[in-house]
C-alpha cells in the first residue's frame, strides 16, 4: 500500500514537471508582445521570380503563424492544421500541390534583436517561431531541398 502511494505521489510530481517544463519551454520561445515591424520577402524559386522584396508589415502578433493568419487575405495564405501545429501550404497564389514532390514553402528567419540567423529550411514551424521587432522573414517557394 505504501509502495503504491509512493508511486502515485511520484507520478503526480512527474506530471507537474511535465506540465511545468512544457509551459516553461513554450514561454521561452514566445515572441515579443506589443506592436512591431516585420519585414517580409517572397521569392518563387521555381521560376526565379522575386514576388515581394522587404515589405514592412505592422503587427501585434507574437508568432509567425498568427501573423500569417492576420494577413491571410493580403498574402493569400493557406495553412493546414497538423499535430505539429499549422503548416504553410499556400502563399500569394502559389500552393503546394504534392506534399511528396513539392514545391513547398520554406523560409529563412533573421532577427537582429535576438541575434539569430536561420537559413532556409532551418527555422521552426510557423507556430513555434516567435516574432520580434525588425525581424526579417524570406519565404521561398521551391522543390529544391538541398540548401
Amino acid at each position: 500500500m505504501e509502495n503504491k502511494n509512493t508511486k502515485i505521489i511520484l507520478s503526480l510530481l512527474i506530471l507537474a514537471l511535465m506540465v511545468g517544463g512544457f509551459l516553461g519551454f513554450t514561454g521561452f520561445l514566445k515572441g515579443e508582445d506589443g506592436e512591431k515591424i516585420i519585414i517580409i520577402s517572397i521569392t518563387n524559386k521555381e521560376d526565379n521570380n522575386e514576388i515581394m522584396k522587404e515589405k514592412a508589415f505592422r503587427t501585434t502578433k507574437e508568432t509567425l503563424g498568427d501573423f500569417l493568419e492576420e494577413n491571410k487575405s493580403e498574402l493569400e495564405v493557406i495553412m493546414s492544421d497538423s499535430q505539429y501545429g499549422r503548416f504553410l501550404e499556400g502563399l500569394v497564389g502559389f500552393n503546394t500541390e504534392s506534399m511528396m514532390d513539392g514545391p513547398w514553402w520554406m523560409y529563412s528567419y533573421e532577427s537582429k534583436s535576438q541575434n539569430i540567423n536561420m537559413e532556409i529550411g532551418n527555422a521552426p514551424g510557423v507556430d513555434d517561431l516567435g516574432l520580434f521587432d525588425g525581424d526579417k522573414i524570406h519565404f521561398v517557394f521551391t522543390s529544391d531541398m538541398d540548401f
Binding site: 507520478s11 512527474i14 517544463g21 519551454f25 520561445l29 535576438q114 539569430i116 537559413e119 532551418n122 521552426p124
Partner: protein
C-alpha cells in the same frame, strides 16, 4: 542463431513497431522508450539488442533511408544494451524509471543530432532548436517514467510466464523477481 531465436526476435520487433505506429498518432505520448527499457531488462542482451535492431531496420524499410531513421539504428540498440547492463545491477523499479526518464529525455535530441550538425546553427539558433525538442522530450520522459513505475514489473512477470522461463532468452535478473 536458431529458428526459435529468430522467431522471438521477429515477434518482439513487430510488437515494438506496432507500439511505434500507434504512438506516432500522438505527438507527445509514446511508449517506445518504455518498450526498449522493458526488452533490455527482461530479455537476454542478444535478444533485446537484435529486437531493437530489427525494429530500426523496419523503420528504415517503411520510412526510407534518412538521417533520423539511421539514428534509430544507432540509438535504440545502444539503449537496449545500456538497459541490459543496468538490469545486472539494479533491482529498484524507481531507479529503472529514473534512468528511463533520462534516456527518453535525450532520445529525441540524439536523433536530431545530424540535422543540428547539417543546419550549421549559431548559438541562439541551437538553443531554440534544443528547446523545441525539449518541449516534446519532457513529456516523452515523463510518460516513460510513469509507465515504468506501473507497468514494468507486471509485464516482466507476464513475459516470464509466457516464455516458459527459457533461460537463453531472458535477462538473468528476471529470475529474481518477487
Amino acid at each position: 542463431m536458431k529458428a526459435k531465436d529468430i522467431t522471438l526476435i521477429a515477434l518482439l520487433a513487430s510488437i515494438m513497431y506496432v507500439i511505434y505506429i500507434i504512438g506516432s498518432g500522438f505527438l507527445y505520448f509514446e511508449l517506445l522508450n518504455f518498450t526498449v527499457l522493458l526488452y533490455g531488462v527482461t530479455f537476454s542482451k542478444k535478444t533485446s539488442y537484435f529486437s531493437t535492431l530489427v525494429f530500426s531496420l523496419l523503420v528504415i524499410l517503411t520510412w526510407g533511408l534518412a538521417p533520423w531513421t539511421v539514428m534509430y539504428l544507432v540509438v535504440f540498440p545502444v539503449y537496449s544494451l545500456i538497459y541490459s547492463s543496468l538490469g545486472n545491477h539494479i533491482r529498484s523499479e524507481y531507479l529503472f524509471a529514473a534512468f528511463g526518464f533520462i534516456l527518453a529525455f535525450f532520445c529525441g535530441t540524439i536523433i536530431d543530432l545530424p540535422y543540428i550538425y547539417m543546419a550549421g546553427l549559431d548559438y541562439r539558433g541551437l538553443v531554440i532548436r534544443l528547446l523545441l525538442g525539449f518541449q516534446v522530450s519532457i513529456i516523452n520522459a515523463g510518460t516513460t517514467f510513469i509507465s515504468t513505475l506501473f507497468l514494468l514489473y507486471p509485464i516482466r512477470k507476464a513475459l516470464l510466464k509466457s516464455t516458459n522461463n527459457q533461460v537463453g532468452h531472458l535477462h538473468p535478473s528476471v529470475f529474481n523477481l518477487d
